[in-house]
């Protein structure tokens, strides 16, 4: 267990063995539907589709999915309410059709978030990064991103351990102490990241690395049935969303 619930879910998901390209098509299709269709019934249908697919066939734990959807909720609610409040010469009031506009904003954002989460909770980043390379992102950039993905869990573990040790020594008992501890924690994590990078580099240089970190990607053939069902499903969503 790595400490990032969404990443854990992605590795354990029943859809982990599916082709990343298939899952990208499905999720990005849903994201686009969530963006362009009117909130009623488009957003509701997209959101329901994403949730049902994630909890059903992909077998993502409902707790993980529910928590992840809740994370951006504070931003969505505050911004949506702010957007429909009217500031004019006679003070503050609700804009005309405020409830409908706020509802539409929240609907779009929740449906979009659920569609992205469907991809995030079924596909580990290490499966998605090779797809970036096929999108003509330079290999050097994809490699930096892969190292970032691998190192961030190491650093998160260091961070948790150091913070626990600091807390056990009353490091966060006062505001002053909290700042001092947070500063020391940041410095420790930064110097550790440099140390890790240098040790990895020494190890790789010793093995003669000179053409980058090449690994064989696991072969995950695309499923024709999955792609056909995705295209048909998205077409139905678009038709229903536009017609309504």
């Amino acid at each position: 267990m790595t400490g990032l619930a969404i990443d854990d879910a992605a590795w354990a998901s029943a859809w982990r063995v599916r082709s990343p390209a298939d899952k990208l098509l499905l999720s990005l299709g849903l994201v686009v539907c969530a963006l362009v269709l009117p909130a009623w019934p488009g957003s509701v249908l997209v959101g329901l589709t994403a949730v049902v697919l994630a909890l059903g066939p992909a077998r993502v734990p409902a707790r993980t999915f529910g928590r992840a959807v809740r994370l951006p909720l504070a931003f969505i609610l505050v911004s949506a309410v702010t957007a429909v409040v009217e500031v004019g010469g006679d003070g503050i009031g609700w804009a005309p059709d405020a409830a409908a506009r706020a509802g539409s904003l929240i609907g779009h954002a929740l449906a979009g978030s659920a569609a992205v989460l469907l991809l995030a909770t079924t596909t580990p980043m290490s499966d998605l990064l090779p797809a970036l390379q096929r999108l003509r992102v330079p290999a050097a950039v994809v490699e930096v991103a892969s190292v970032t993905y691998r190192l961030l869990f190491v650093l998160l573990t260091s961070l948790t351990t150091i913070r626990e040790a600091q807390a056990a020594r009353m490091g966060y008992a006062s505001v002053r102490g909290s700042y001092r501890s947070a500063g020391a924690l940041t410095a420790a994590v930064l110097t550790r990241s440099w140390d890790r990078a240098r040790r990895l580099q020494d190890g790789l240089a010793g093995r003669g690395m000179d053409v980058g970190l090449q690994v064989l990607p696991e072969a995950r053939p695309s499923s024709r049935r999955f792609v056909a069902a995705t295209v048909a499903g998205l077409a139905v969503l678009l038709a229903v969303g536009v017609a309504a």
Binding site: I6, D7, V31, L35, A68, L71, P72, F75, I76, S79, T82, A83, E86, V87, G88, A95, P96, H108, A109, G112, S113, A115, V116, L117, A120, M125, P138, A140, V141, E143, V144, A145, V147, T148, Y149, L151, L152, V154, L155, L159, Y172, V175, S178, Y179, A182, G183, A184, L185, T186, A187, V189, L190, T191, S193, W194, R196, A197, R198, A205, L213
Partner: protein, 231 residues
């Protein structure tokens, strides 16, 4: 503060992606060149990206009672320069969207523009200016990190105001609304992040002096710059 997935209308999402693209491509070119000249940079840049991501897991006690986390683009801009941060910041935003459900894919362009382009450049500018005016390393770090945070928040608020202008007072009114609502959390956070930066660099100047000299943050000969020796 990241704009959530699906929150921006399609035209705005595309527009901000187009606006951020040249900076990110420029950063990618800088990274490709750096990696070709020094293959070992791949790991250092990856470590920098991981550090920026992990910074969002560090909690800062905030004056308003709640605790918030630093954005980390200021420290990245000071250590690794803004062009590299444009790329690393975008990679980190992608990871935050996919691993933390923070931000989104269609809003990636808008978030990259505020957090990976405007924030680092504003922070780096403030850092250089403060140092040139004799503010010393720690003064520069405080200004750089606080301003990177503030500039990111102001840009995000303006992006939201552009997308959702006020029905009566238009863009200006909406800008006031969004700036006001998020100031409650973001202004204390900017000051907190500046303080964190000062504490961080105080530790680094004593324990990681060679790395800071290699990155060009500190001069090679410490006797030339006595203010930086302050502890």
């Amino acid at each position: 503060m990241h704009i959530a997935e699906g929150f921006l209308p399609p035209a705005h999402a595309i527009g901000w992606t187009v606006a951020a693209a040249p900076f990110v491509v420029h950063g990618a070119r800088a990274v490709v060149r750096e990696v070709r000249e020094h293959p070992e940079s791949t790991l250092l840049l990856g470590a920098a990206g991981a550090f920026t991501f992990v910074l969002s897991a560090i909690k800062l006690p905030s004056v308003t009672g709640s605790s918030s986390h630093p954005t980390g683009t200021g420290v990245g801009a000071i250590l690794f320069r803004p062009p590299v941060m444009a790329l690393l910041g975008t990679v980190v935003l992608l990871f935050q969207a996919m691993l933390l459900a923070h931000g989104g894919l269609t809003t990636l362009g808008a978030n990259a523009f505020s957090m990976a382009v405007v924030g680092p450049w504003a922070g780096y500018g403030a850092y250089r200016l403060t140092r040139r005016l004799g503010g010393g390393l720690l003064g520069g770090v405080f200004a750089g990190m606080a301003l990177a945070d503030l500039a990111t928040y102001v840009t995000t608020a303006l992006q939201l105001a552009l997308a959702f202008p006020d029905a009566e007072s238009g863009f200006a009114g909406a800008a006031g609304k969004f700036l006001g609502v998020f100031a409650v959390t973001q202004v204390p956070l900017a000051i907190g992040e500046g303080l964190l930066g000062v504490l961080l660099f105080r530790v680094l100047t004593t324990s990681a002096r060679p790395e800071l000299e290699r990155l060009g943050v500190l001069a090679r000969n410490p006797r030339d710059t006595p203010t930086e020796e302050r502890r």
